[in-house]
Point group: C2
Chain length 397, copies 2
């Protein structure tokens, strides 16, 4: 059984803060700073270039990939870290389209991250005018799986409402229509129980700075189903994805399996921070995380609805259809969130009116939920948001 009192003690959480924005940027694992310092002083400082072998820097991308893989139901050797989530979207989509060369449509929904759609737009423009990005409502995926669709590209958990797609069911529907699937796990990895293998997903991508707590700008990751991994041509064919990077051949030859999804030199300092964050993840089981997260979110909904009747739930009420966040709509949501933040309850705001609160059992407990709900009640029922200073927009919160 996962010990969440123990994991909570492993994070640095500022005095007086209840941090409900770990779905934007996870907090600092206490050990991360020393782990990074140790790498800088004792590996980079002392081993210099020799660190690539002696300190195992070259293996970090795959070693860390496997540790993330355990959290998302991916077999060993099917996940690699590096670059950013956006770059990994590009890699996945370019490869997926080549697996289905006669079809030219990428199907997605308007609950997807805009960045994923932007990356798709950039790629499709390069591929030519016969390609199309088709964006539908999240409720209309099934009927849009027509026989011109090459790839279904979705984010499992909506970043605004927390609405969760049924990955297994939609993947099965897609496969029945010979459509390749790409799942963005940005709000899934470390948040909910994902089983890529059972869902038969073809590709998945994600980031590590949200629920995984790797730090600001921590690298992305990509999963490729083992059955595809040895047949893909990487669009971003960099030297570290080459079969023999240090042969310095002039012709690209892809490395074995997931290795070909490497591009350039791995970001060692960032990977060390992520490594320390994953030490905490190694102590827990995702099924425990999911069970506790559902309890915390249900408790939060119940507390806020009781205390603040003028907030309306934007997230699915049934925990099974929800990620690890709860969103409420409130007309003055921006100002109200600023007022909450000023009182130590840090969530965030998504236009036009969504107040978003992320939960993770790793460092949030029932006491935090009750305290946060009380502060939100104070802000809402006493109109504490109604101050000019809280209404200045243009911030990232």
């Amino acid at each position: 059984m996962s010990d969440f009192r123990r994991t909570k003690a492993m994070f640095h959480l500022p005095e007086g803060v209840i941090y409900l924005d770990g779905n934007s940027l996870g907090p600092l694992p206490k050990a991360a700073c020393d782990h990074v310092s140790d790498m800088m002083r004792n590996q980079w400082g002392e081993m210099l270039i020799g660190g690539w072998n002696k300190a195992g820097w070259m293996r970090l991308s795959t070693d860390i990939g496997d540790r993330i893989g355990r959290l998302i139901g991916a077999a060993k050797g099917s996940v690699i870290t590096g670059d950013t989530l956006s770059i990994k979207v590009y890699q996945a989509l370019a490869s997926a389209l080549e697996l289905n060369p006669k079809r030219k449509v990428v199907l997605s929904d308007n609950g997807n991250f805009p960045s994923d759609l932007y990356m798709a737009q950039g790629l499709l423009h390069s591929l030519g005018s016969d390609y199309e990005l088709r964006i539908v409502s999240p409720d209309n995926i099934t009927e849009n799986l027509t026989n011109d669709v090459a790839v279904l590209m979705l984010t499992e958990v909506d970043y605004r409402t927390g609405r969760r797609h049924d990955m297994k069911e939609l993947t099965a529907q897609a496969h029945a229509k010979n459509v390749i699937t790409i799942w963005d796990l940005a709000h899934s990895a470390g948040a909910i129980d994902v089983d890529l293998t059972a869902a038969k997903a073809d590709f998945a991508i994600g980031c590590t700075y949200k629920y995984l707590n790797g730090g600001p700008g921590s690298p992305g990751f990509i999963y490729v189903a083992p059955k595809h991994a040895d047949s893909l041509r990487p669009a971003l064919s960099g030297w570290l994805g080459h079969e023999a990077p240090f042969a310095f051949d002039l012709e690209y030859r892809p490395g074995a399996g997931i290795e070909r999804m490497r591009v350039g030199t791995p970001p060692v300092i960032a990977l060390k921070s992520l490594e320390a964050a994953l030490d905490i993840w190694d102590m827990v089981e995702m099924r425990d995380i999911r069970a506790k997260s559902m309890e915390l979110c249900d408790l939060f909904i119940s507390e806020v609805e009781t205390r603040c009747p003028n907030l309306s739930l934007a997230s699915p009420r049934d925990a099974r259809n929800r990620g690890s966040q709860v969103s409420f709509r409130f007309r003055e949501g921006f100002a109200a969130m600023q007022a909450c933040i000023a009182r130590g309850v840090i969530g965030d705001f998504r236009a036009p009116d969504i107040m978003r609160f992320g939960f993770t059992p790793l460092y949030i407990d029932e006491g935090d939920v009750i305290t946060a709900a009380g502060i939100i009640e104070d802000v809402i029922t006493n109109n504490l948001w109604d101050r000019p200073a809280y209404k200045i927009k243009g911030k990232i919160t």
Copy 2:
């Protein structure tokens, strides 16, 4: 006048080591570790998500870009950091090809980094079979600037021999034939006097873990000539290159100028290490670096040629045609380099027979050059390389 005794004292250099491999991975700036720790503890730890604004994380990519820009003759606002060099090659080439849409040939040479050629191969494959990567000898660029060439993509300084292209002359020749230019500065930035503005280069890219000392896997950078910056369509169109990333629009609209070359979330921890490294660069002038580097390299050539007549110079003899490295050919170069490394002189080896030594006045002085030459002499003249342990290949050195 740049004070190189002062800069040398700002690096951690292990006892008994003369580090002549800063062109693979620069050494640790003493201040980098504390600078990163401070960011992790006091910014990430205390400000959490608020760090993006309060600590200026969102501006780091351009602020650091401008500091690199000073070293390579780039105007303010024309350089941005992020991703890896390989990704930046892809961005530059995709945009360059769109500036010259009627032509389909990318011209490069076999002295270019293989990774740059690999990235080009990946991109051209995606663009279609009418595109061609044409690789010629570095001596034959001029006559190959034919009227089907869209883009000339070269690395200024050859990573094996240190041979330097004449950027200004080749750019002028290319422009005379309506060819767009991309210059890879991986072995130029911080090594030699680069003036992108005077050379009228269209694009440049580089990395920051070699001469700039940002640390293993430190991000890449890209320069776009101001005249092009507002007209480019980024192939890698990520959310942070969007005009309004936090509007979360479904349609991509490029940000102003160089901003559109951002892709995903910037790697803040890595950028902080680089920031500390650039504090040292802020203390020196590139013309002083170049003058001193030429002296050091000339001294090294003279010392090694006197002491080791069986090593043959692989680098140009005229310092003006050379980067900031000196390479010698020696049949048993791999084993000889291992023997040098075992004796504290760290250079590296490039197949088939090149012993490569990088020099930078920031932390290498005349005394180091003489001592290193003495150790190399000992290894070569006394056949100290002739031991089985030194002949095991497959290492990154």
